[in-house]
Assembly symmetry: C2
Homo-oligomer: 225 residues x 2
Amino acid sequence: MEPNIAYIANLIGDTARSRMLTALMADKALTATELSVEADITPQTASSHLNKLLDGELLIVRKQGRHKYFQLKNRQVAELIEHMLNVSASISSPKIVTGPSNERLRKARICYDHLAGELGVKLFDALVREGWILERGSEELVLTAQGHRSLSQLGIDFEVLNKSRRPLCKACLDWSERRTHLAGSIGKWILNDALKRQWAHQDLDSRAIQFTASGLNAFNKQYRI
Amino acid sequence: MEPNIAYIANLIGDTARSRMLTALMADKALTATELSVEADITPQTASSHLNKLLDGELLIVRKQGRHKYFQLKNRQVAELIEHMLNVSASISSPKIVTGPSNERLRKARICYDHLAGELGVKLFDALVREGWILERGSEELVLTAQGHRSLSQLGIDFEVLNKSRRPLCKACLDWSERRTHLAGSIGKWILNDALKRQWAHQDLDSRAIQFTASGLNAFNKQYRI
DNA sequence: TCTATAGTTCGAGCAACATCGAAGCATCAA
DNA sequence: TTGATGCTTCGATGTTGCTCGAACTATAGA
């Protein structure tokens, strides 16, 4: 038999569960209670949903004291959610409502482990313009020799990155901008570096990334945005 | 608001609808009745499901006389389904049952527009071994100069392929083999070429690709499998 | 030991929706 | 015009499963 995609899709296809999954796209482990708040349901209901998601192997859980920390099982699952976000965003009928909290999400947010939103797209454009990465076709990205040099100077350790089997650069479609932004281990490094330098911090309650005024300046300068 | 992934997921998450979608992965337009047979439901029920899939913009339809031909809306949708097949296949609980008709599917099948299954993986391995394509990391593929030469000799027209914004080579994870096979416009060309040369033909009732004995020989020889 | 918090299990209520029979419309081929 | 085929609309039925209140277990802290 072919794999049963209805099972997985049905799992994601519930409003409460899909909200939990989307919340977990921030790549942060969340507790059952936090997720119940996120999904706007009671803890009992959340407990039932979380068990289903565990059964379906979309989540993993770590127990710490009286807390349970849930997170997405792996990158494959995260990429599936991302894919669904993209397809959903390209649909016309259920209109996308604009709100104040979404303004921040649209500006800059975390997409599993790299920067997305307006700033993510700007970053990508700048890297291409400066010749650090090269677009081959519309989906394939290549790091140039110059990009390698420049990023090394910024402190990236390619020795470490090359050890992982993950590609350095990867194109990721942005659902709010409908444009490409940078994923892959370099994308991850750039976000982590900005957080480490305290140019920005992640919102406690959402996937939004808040840049400080000076942090944004430094970030823009560093990447010629 | 973030895009509503529950809506799309819920659409795919019904057994009947998911069967229809999987059937359409063969990239062939099917009529409403054919799809109702595929999903094992009455035409009335199928009609209702197909309308929902149209509303959700997962399908498009062409009317021809008293027939209605449905197909997947675009490659993005097909890739989403493929992604779900992969995630589903990597789940342990709902075991994959082996059956006679699946034997053929596992050997060689169409994955939207390129070759998948055992033969697809073998093809990929051969192309890498012969140095026609290069694996960078685990997901990124590059066409080598030698690959360009060799494929040109086989009749591929890179002028045409380069016009499309689609990447030449792309890695696609195979749900039955759990290994990489070749997608992208070259993958598409190779399959089409084999069909054109009548080395193989597509099953009428499924996504299986049937090679003739001599066709398989020629195919293996051409690509050093 | 007592209390507060995190998470669970059970059961009942309720709404959503997949399903099909019956009947209807549209098209094609005589 | 008649009959056959493809597809749809309508209404009734039944099941699934999301939901929460109530009561429970488990852990942490004092």
